[in-house]
């Protein structure tokens, strides 16, 4: 029974954490992009405008949810939920800190650790495409349909690269559990640099690029390109239904940054010092610091790069990213083979 209670508490905390994160994330994005474009951004509600997102959320909550006459109602209603659920589920396996021990009982700071964690992440995040596809189709309108067809093609293409980028990480750490992948990055290389998977530079770069595409962020935001297809798949949505898509998008950005941290930046590893309470809290601080650094990169790229053309997107995904990741997997295999069995002529 205590197990069920513990799980419920973890789920509730994770949910609250994600909601709070999204509020800060939306505000941070608007402010940072504004500063990069020599504007002020939202600065009226609360100190430095931090309550703007909460105000916007409240506004959306009270707005009327319109339904187009030609909409397929069942799927039109289901699509926003289908967008949020996978986004929340991915976070369940992300370890946000080192296991903490209180009163002789050790608690892991992740909702659950799965033996097949990496595959779970890929599986659940691949379900996110249905929300976009079905939203676009069920709206019964042409721009959403165009957006959703773009989304389906884009997400299938970059999912492959995303998965392939993780293969060397799995090969070098020898596990698919996210907690163990973080654990494996604990030491240092000869007492100097921390032993993060960041040394697998090609994997890191491919994962990050594919991550931009999977979350439909600039420069790969063709799915909702305002200038071409109005707003893409969520054109016909309003009120809370629109808010759900918005929520899912920002949770996905945070998840992708957190996963990059887990796979390549050593997760919660970092210097630990001070009294027990501080020492216990530091891993969470390191994790959040690294994750927000990647989030900042997401925002920075959005403010910097123009949108790619559709043919460029497809050519880059299939003719550059995937072949490069295949070659990199092959090289990793050779490296592991040499390390374990020695050179073939030795």
């Amino acid at each position: 029974m205590t197990g069920v209670l513990l799980a419920a508490v973890k789920v509730a905390v994770a949910f609250g954490f994600l909601m709070g994160t999204v509020i800060v994330l939306v505000w941070a994005e608007r402010r940072i992009v504004a500063f990069m474009q020599n504007r002020h951004g939202p600065n009226r509600a609360g100190p430095a405008g931090i309550l703007q997102t909460a105000a916007d959320g409240l506004k959306l909550f009270f707005k009327e949810s319109m339904t187009p006459r030609k909409a397929e109602f069942a799927l039109y209603i289901a699509a926003p939920v289908l967008a949020v659920v996978p986004a929340l589920l991915v976070f369940a396996v992300i370890p946000v800190g080192a296991p903490i021990t209180i009163g002789g009982v050790t608690y892991t700071l992740q909702v659950t650790d799965l033996d097949v964690g990496v595959l779970y992440v890929l599986a659940v995040s691949s379900l996110g495409v249905y929300a976009v596809t079905l939203a676009g189709w069920s709206s019964g309108s042409k721009y959403p349909l165009l957006g959703s067809v773009r989304a389906a093609a884009q997400m299938i293409s970059y999912e492959a690269a995303l998965g392939l980028a993780l293969v060397p990480v799995i090969m070098f750490t020898g596990t698919t559990s996210l907690a163990e992948i973080v654990e494996a990055q604990g030491g240092t290389f000869g007492g100097g640099l921390p032993a993060w998977n960041l040394v697998l530079v090609p994997s890191f770069v491919i994962f990050l690029i594919a991550g931009f595409a999977e979350t439909n962020r600039a420069p790969f935001d063709l799915v909702e390109a305002e200038q071409e297809i109005v707003g893409g798949y969520h054109t016909e949505y309003s009120g809370m239904r629109f808010a759900f898509f918005f929520l899912a998008e920002y949770i996905n950005v945070f998840n992708m940054a957190a996963l990059t941290t887990v796979f390549f930046l050593g997760g919660w590893h970092g210097p630990r010092f001070g009294p027990p309470a501080v020492e216990m809290a530091l891993p969470v601080v390191w994790f959040l610091a690294k994750t927000w650094a990647i989030v900042f990169l997401f925002i920075w790229v959005r403010a910097t790069l123009p949108r790619v053309r559709y043919d460029q997107l497809m050519a880059f995904g299939w003719k550059r990213l995937i072949p490069v990741s295949l070659v990199w997997i092959f090289l990793s295999m050779v490296a592991i083979g040499v390390r374990r069995f020695g050179l073939p002529w030795a």
């Binding site: 890929l122 599986a123 067809v149 299938i156």
Partner: protein, 176 residues
Amino acid sequence: MAELVVFAVFAAVALAGAFVMLSARNPVYSAIGLLASMFSIAVFYVLLDAHFIAAIQVIIYAGAVMTLFLFVIMMIGVDRREDTTEPIPFQRPIGIVLALALGVLVVAAGSKAWFTGSGRFGSVDLVGTIGVVADELFGTWVLPFLGTTLLLTIAALATVALGRYDVAATEGEEGP
């Protein structure tokens, strides 16, 4: 008990999904029905402690195959009315007979062996984990596994070759 409840719920979802897939007029709803069925099957794998297969089931079938189905349905044009006349006579009776035969087979097989959970295989913690599957795949069954990969590679190469086949360039040539 919890296992039975989860099984009952998702068995119902799987059957409902299959029914929707067959009966829906609109191909998009058919695809969604099939998706629900496949996802429920992944849940059954989880109940049997086969986490690896469950993850693969979702990645391949729910994630890739069904997305592709939906994509193609949308590309072809989803608004076109389907031709619902049945070109094969006796299609429905044959279908019913085959379904009944399958039902009898399932009941017959089920009465001989009935699996719940993975206790039958010894340690519950190990069955279906990546390590166990990998040991089987790359140890006991390595040759069939490599044969399958070879087949898939050949199929992929053939697809590329057919896709790049230029009819105009080869029209004037003699011989095979």
